[in-house]
């Protein structure tokens, strides 16, 4: 059974908490304000924007009350032949010391800033090409809305952030242009590589765009399939830690079929696809290579250990068989318990005696109010 209502509750239970979501917005807003007000940094800032799982609506809440990671990318005008990645990052340290003293740290190629409920993960870019500066300052890039809340998001100069639309008299015309005209063509941004001695390509906007398109091809269920499977791994399979985060999301993107009508259907078919599609790799002790959206030279699974992938595949095999039973079952209680086996206690327990079979006619206790008791 699809148990739509139960899955709605489950998704509500695993999404980042109210506190995490509101601090994500307020934390980002404050950071943005402070960056733009900083006399030393402002001259070479272009803009900053939300990337990562929050922006793509694929974030799940961390276990054990840990802080939720919020990925922010800061686009600068720093030229690569003047600054290597380390030098560029050092420029930001006085700012961090001033505003986030005791709460920030250098973590390889990014900075981490600890707030109460979220941890901002700040990554710095080098200068993009002149012709793309307008793009990076546009509302389409800088909006804090994710691709589900802003379901008409397109990378277009006329696209307006949700908050702007009520104020403007020309919203309708601008949104009309944004929805019908072609999107901007964009190049990758350049951020520090893992060793922070070279600039390397990344394309968060393309990742966001790809996710948006996949989501609309799957009736809005793709991002929920991602969240559910992230949770499945967190709850059932703490080992191995990887794949997680974007690599896991990428795998699901490779395997989730289009046209799915429910999250339940998406889950069972994705897990089955993982098993079938990657079986050849398992047989040869290898792993697939999956290119990053917008950066064809990167293999998202490049750093994933072959043994970990193997273990993951076997977990998927087990999971797919449970999911198939849960999906095919026509008994409410049985189906509910099977799904719960995959997802743990955040998935609601089925009601007792809730098998929907032959309860018979119950005598009404009061006269029926016509309609639901409201009148117009």
């Amino acid at each position: 059974m699809e148990l739509k209502s139960d899955f709605d509750t489950f998704l509500e239970n695993i999404r980042p908490t109210e506190n995490q979501r509101s601090e994500m917005i307020s934390g980002h807003k404050t950071l943005r304000k402070r960056l733009n007000a900083d006399k030393n940094l402002a001259p070479f800032l272009v803009s900053d924007f939300l990337q990562g799982s929050y922006r793509r609506h694929t974030a799940v809440r961390p276990k054990n009350d840990r802080r939720s990671d919020v990925d922010i990318i800061v686009v600068t005008k720093l030229l690569e032949d003047e600054y290597d990645p380390n030098e560029a990052m050092v420029l930001f340290e006085p700012f961090l010391m001033e505003h986030y003293s005791g709460k920030w740290r250098r973590q390889g190629r990014s900075f981490g800033i600890d707030l109460s409920y979220v941890a901002l993960d700040l990554v710095i870019t080098s200068a993009p090409s002149e012709s793309e500066l307008e793009l990076f300052k546009s509302e389409a890039v800088t909006t804090t809305s994710n691709i589900v809340d802003a379901r008409d998001w397109r990378l277009h100069k006329s696209w307006l952030a949700l908050e702007s639309r009520a104020q403007r008299l020309d919203s309708r015309q601008l949104m009309q242009a944004a929805s019908t005209e072609a999107e901007w063509k964009t190049s990758p941004l350049r951020i520090p590589d893992r060793e922070t001695d070279k600039w390397d390509d990344t394309h968060p906007l393309e990742q966001i765009r790809w996710t948006r398109d996949k989501n609309s091809q799957t009736n809005g269920h793709f991002v929920n399939v991602v969240k559910a499977l992230k949770w499945w791994r967190l709850v059932n399979h703490e080992e191995p830690e990887h794949p997680k985060g974007f690599p896991l999301e990428r795998i699901i993107g490779d395997c989730c079929p289009n046209g799915i009508e429910s999250i339940a259907q998406g889950l069972v078919e994705t897990l089955e696809a993982i098993v079938n599609k990657y079986r050849p790799y398992i047989q040869s002790q290898g792993k697939p290579s999956l290119v990053d959206y917008g950066v064809p030279s990167h293999d998202v699974l490049g750093r994933l250990d072959g043994g970990d992938f193997n273990a993951f595949w076997e977990q998927a095999q087990e999971g797919s068989s449970i999911a198939r039973k849960a999906y095919d079952s026509t008994e409410r209680k049985e189906s509910g318990l099977l799904w719960q086996k995959l997802f743990g206690s955040k998935f609601p327990s089925p009601p007792d005696g809730g098998d929907g079979k032959g309860r018979g006619y119950t005598e009404p206790t009061a006269p029926a109010a016509p309609g639901a008791g409201r009148f117009a």
């Binding site: 309708r172 949104m175 309609g371 117009a376």
Partner: protein
């Protein structure tokens, strides 16, 4: 002595005696009775200390006093013999009266509240006081004359009064919608100009003739009114109903404040502004010869207060008589357009011919709503009303009469006789689709509103619903159907809009107005807030039992009287207006409940929590 044998009453004789004793005023001859008006004509002579071009040292006046003095009307007219001939501000057009009548037409406006007149005579007409009353009027007339000499009958700061026109022709029911909003189009014109007006009908308003567009002589639109339809009134359609406009940058008057009564006077007034009336009408005559009468609008800018800059154009219609084609031209002219024009110039449009002014009204929405309309923010929203039942139809009535400009009406039902107890539609609409009938009704109460009516259910398909409501800035759910809030929450619109889900509870004692703003309807916010109230409502149902239409009907009705539904509708409109005015975007449920104090109706109270409702209300209502 009046030959009729009648004598003025004791009161009037006293009144005349007191008035005639005023300085500079004397009775010119004996009062005489005017049979047809049940009045006495009192001839007086007024002497002025200072004079002007139009005000002589001595002038003769006829005061018409009704027999019921010191009650009834008192009117001041210049006498035909020895009376002033000019028209001033605050005076009716002062032409000569019919042959043989003792007074001219130019009645003085003495009872309008011109404060400066009150300085002399006191602010209030002492009706009923025989000694004082006629005297009061005479003093005011003297003051009027003094101001006329000074030229300050219209003083800076006074409300601007139009020069008197006295239009009589009613048959066109001519209306237009000029306002300060449309003024910029005309403000640019520094010289007299003329062009074409396109006319339309207002079938819901007794077929009033309305001006739907102004064009210049090249067919270029200068401005269009709200009833303009491109497919009916565009300049390239040959069967448009047309007329003409003639604009003057200043009021076309003859000093001091005389609006042209005849064609000759119009020519003179035009000449003062370097406007050649004949040149204009010659061309017009060429276009309309052989056809029926045409409308011509004379227009000029007017201010709100004297001394201020003009803010609006005032239009006064006139009927251009049908001009004959063919026939004999005057001596020395050929039988062609020039010849026939010369004939018309001397006869139909001769200098001494009275202009046939047409009653013209300004029906701009500013004027129609002058007595009170909705806020600008609410009026300008395009509103989609889902559900045209008791509550929906009443809300729609309040919105449209209040000036709402654009509405969508959707309903799936037809009007039945049992609905009349609580609906704005009437018996003539029974059997008609509610949405269509309501659209017709609402168009008849506001000439500016644009209404689209759709019959059917609220679309279940997301895309269909999104398309239907795309253009609307406010969506009002007056269906009281549980599905509709859900359907609205499945749809999503790029441009955020306001939602109101309006309904009442049992017997419309409570009103539930849920408001939210965004790209979609906040259904979880709605259900969270309304469900506790619906639980409370269930108590009333279980106590009361079912309401049925009559024997043979099994399906239960929802009892609610019109007065209670009306209160609910008013509450919803006010809540909507406040929400818009305060630019709110948070979801909120406003609950209003009828309250009783000492068993008497005490209005509606806003209640925040279900537990706050008064016990007295519930007991009393359940008993009724």
């Amino acid at each position: 002595m009046d030959t009729s044998g009648k004598k003025p009453s004791e009161s009037l004789r006293t009144g005349i005696k007191v008035a005639a004793s005023l300085e500079n005023v004397s009775l010119a001859s004996h009062p005489f009775h005017i049979e047809g008006k049940a009045s006495w004509a009192v001839p007086v002579t007024v002497r002025m200390r200072s004079t002007s071009e139009y005000v002589p040292t001595e002038s003769k006046w006829i005061i018409l006093v009704e027999e019921t003095y010191p009650f009834g009307d008192i009117e001041f007219f210049p006498a035909t013999a020895g009376g002033m001939e000019a028209t001033f501000p605050h005076q009716e057009q002062n032409g000569s009266g019919p042959d043989g009548r003792a007074w001219r037409n130019g009645k003085l406006c003495l009872d309008n509240p011109i404060e400066r007149l009150s300085v002399v005579s006191g602010p209030h007409d002492p009706v009923g006081n025989a000694d004082e009353r006629l005297c009061w009027y005479v003093r005011r007339a003297q003051e009027w004359l003094r101001l006329a000499v000074e030229g300050s009958l219209m003083s800076p700061g006074d409300p601007f009064e139009l020069p008197w026109c006295g239009a009589k022709i009613d048959k066109w029911r001519l209306v237009h919608d000029e306002s300060s909003r449309t003024f910029p189009t005309w403000a640019k014109m520094k010289k007299s100009a003329w062009g074409v007006i396109v006319l339309g009908d207002l079938p819901e308003f007794n077929n009033a003739t309305c001006v739907v567009a102004f064009e210049d002589n090249n067919g270029t639109q200068i401005r269009i009114g709200p009833r303009y339809q491109a497919n009916k009134h565009a300049s390239d359609i040959s069967d448009r109903k047309l007329g003409f406009w003639l604009f003057f940058p200043q009021p076309p008057i003859l000093a001091p404040w005389h609006f042209p009564r005849t064609w000759g006077e119009l020519r003179s007034a035009g000449k003062l502004q370097k406007a050649d009336i004949d040149q204009v009408f010659k061309v017009i005559a060429g276009r309309v010869r052989g056809e029926e009468a045409y409308l011509v609008l004379l227009g000029y800018p007017i201010p709100l207060k004297c001394g201020e800059s003009a803010c609006e154009v005032h239009w006064q219609g006139l009927e251009l008589p049908a001009l004959k084609a063919g026939g004999k031209p005057p001596q020395g002219f050929r039988p062609n357009e020039t010849g026939w024009w010369m004939r018309d110039r001397r006869s139909t449009l001769g200098d001494d011919k009275e202009i046939k002014y047409v009653k013209t009204e300004n029906w701009s929405s500013e004027r129609l709503l002058a007595r009170g309309g909705l806020s600008e923010g609410l009026k300008s929203l395009r509103i989609a009303l889902l559900g045209c039942g008791a509550l929906g139809s009443t809300i729609a009535e309040l919105l449209v009469r209040g000036g709402a400009q654009s509405l969508l009406l959707l309903d799936n039902d037809k009007l039945a006789a049992g609905n009349l107890v609580r609906h704005t539609l009437t018996g003539a609409d029974i059997g008609r689709e509610k949405a269509n009938a309501l659209a017709d009704r609402l168009r008849s109460v506001n000439p500016h509103v644009v209404i689209r009516a759709e019959t059917g259910d609220v679309p279940v398909g997301k895309k269909e619903l999104e398309e239907l409501l795309e253009e609307y800035g406010a969506v009002l759910d007056c269906t009281a159907v549980a599905d509709v809030p859900q359907l609205l929450s499945h749809a999503w619109w790029s441009v955020p809009r306001l939602f109101l889900s309006a309904s009442t509870g049992f017997k419309a004692m409570r009103t539930f107005a849920f408001l939210c703003f965004g790209n979609t309807f906040d259904v979880s916010g709605f259900l969270d807030r309304i469900n506790p109230w619906l639980d409370k409502e269930r108590e009333h149902w279980s106590e009361q039992g079912e309401t049925l239409e009559g024997p043979g009907c099994w399906s239960p009705l929802f009892p609610a009287r019109f007065d209670d539904v009306f209160l609910a509708a008013v509450t919803c409109v006010k809540s909507l207006e406040e929400y818009v005015a305060n630019r709110k975007t948070d979801s909120e449920l406003l609950v209003y409940e009828q309250s009783l104090v000492d068993g008497r109706f005490a209005g509606l109270r806003r209640i925040d929590e279900p537990k706050d409702t008064g016990c007295e209300n519930e007991n009393a209502r359940n008993e009724s």
